[in-house]
């Protein structure tokens, strides 16, 4: 076999592996660190015991649910429901992605590591708000609040598809 043929066969074999533009499908459980046990939040303490004297600094910090740092800068695909945050009459450009919608009030809202703030690459025309969607994008797992970003999961350059079930 001559060299060009070998090269051609090699290229044919390697090219599918080189096509790493796939988004990894993750589940909501993957967003919670293994071994972390969610805590029942103590809601009545949220406002009680606070008095009005300007911005309140000395209240003990409410622990934010921890995030999985290894997900940072990963291309992932996650299904969920949209809660529009930045929208106009025809489209939604930023929303919160949550695992469920319209849940009963028996349980508290999802902890911070079960919420993803999604920024769409192209604003999406709103059809049915209550339809679940697949969101694919680049995940940013921010551990703490900086001047430019709040802590938690953010997804940028995202695109949505309808979730068929």
């Amino acid at each position: 076999m001559n060299t060009p043929r070998i090269l051609l066969i090699l290229m044919l074999v390697i090219s599918p592996l080189a096509h790493s533009d796939k988004y990894k499908e993750v589940s909501w459980d993957d967003l919670m660190p293994k071994g972390w046990i969610p805590v029942v939040p103590d809601e009545p303490e949220f406002f009680e015991g606070e008095t009005y004297d300007g911005r309140f600094e000395t209240l003990p910090k409410i622990e934010m649910a921890p995030i999985v740092k290894s997900l940072n800068k990963q291309k992932i695909k996650l299904p969920g429901y949209m809660i529009p945050i930045k929208f106009n009459a025809s489209s939604v450009s930023e929303f919160l992605l949550v695992p469920y919608m319209g849940a009963c009030v028996h349980t508290p809202p999802p902890p911070e590591n079960q919420i993803v703030y999604v920024s769409l690459k192209k604003p999406m025309v709103t059809q049915d708000l209550w339809a679940p969607v697949w969101v694919s994008g680049i995940m940013k797992a921010q551990v703490s609040m900086t001047k430019f970003a709040t802590a938690g999961y953010h997804m940028t350059e995202a695109a949505t598809e309808i979730y068929d079930y």
């Binding site: 009545p44 009005y52 309140f56 919160l96 009030v105 911070e112 703030y117 609040m145 802590a151």
Partner: protein
Amino acid sequence: MNLLLLLKLTLKSILNRRFTSYLTLFSICISVFLLLGVDTVRKEAKHSFTNTISGTDLLVGARSGSVQLLLYSVFRIGNATNNIGWDSYEKISSHRSVAWSIPISLGDSHKGFRVMGTTEAYFQHYRFADEQALRFKVGKPFSAVYDTVIGADVAEKLGYQLGDELTLAHGVYDTDFARHDDKPFVLVGILERTGTPVDRTIHVSLQGIEALHVDWKTGTRSREAVSAQQALEQDLQPTQITAFMLGLNSKMEIFRVQRAINNYKKEPMLAVLPGLALGELWQLIGVAEKALLIIAVFVLLNSFVGLLTVILTSLNERRREIAILRSLGCRPNQIFILLASESLLFAIVGCILGVLLFLIAIVVSQSVLQGYGLHIPLSSFGPDQLKLVAAVIGMSFLLGSIPGYRAYKQSLADGMSIKL
């Protein structure tokens, strides 16, 4: 027989049956107007409503329902069920998760426009459409107790200038037996047009609302009137407000803060996310608007059936006319064009009249529409509406081929002599 001659014949034929032609034209005109009207109103309604609020994370009011809260606090439609205490507002708005808050107080009006008590935070933080801030056309926000700032529609309709005095009325309807005549307000600012209910609102300070009601604590005007001057000397710290808007430091905390407000033990309150509440509103209205659209389409189909009936029934009387045309050298497929173009002509003229009627209706009903929070400019007749009209004309051509085909077959069968 060239095309132009055929069309002239069509026209003459129609004019010969003038009365029925006018009636058919009228029915098409009305149904096109209806279709355009329904389609535009539902698009613009959704547009107007969704553009009213932007960038607000939570809307909070006394416990009622999310759609109701959205409607009365943002759209000034309907009424609040109850007020909320000032201390609840203070405790929540001073929490570290909150970046900004805007308290609002409703319940008074002026010549059909609602009065809203608020603070300077409103002019600073309120956003609408795509994160647009409020801008002043002239003047500045209120600073004194009796200052007022009005929206663009109020200024336009009532012709107010800076420095004018406004007398506010108690309640949503302004009649002269429930006015706060002893405490007139002075206009210090007019806002730029926003296309939202802000244009129809008269803004005053919370202290202004307190001053107005200093001698209304019994629910009616007190026997011992307190003058405007005297009211200024009293403690005008508000004790209750109707609702407030919150902007949080982190969007991730929205649910936590919302839940905490809903569970607040000291006062029953409701916190909603504006995006979700709007979605719910649209779910409610969605059914009605789809039904309206389907009805409009059926009305249009009905007119077409009417048009076809007219043409088809006339076909019998026109057999002699067609035989004469055949004898003059008109080919059967030209007969087809003759008949098919008739319905096309009706449709085109009907559409033009329908569009004209629609545009006139927009101009005439501006003030009525604005009373419902709808902002429908003439420019709302755009490419989408033209597509609708084009679809109507296209459909008419398809349907017109039915009498055309019948005439074609008849002319073949009849030849030059008619067998009646």
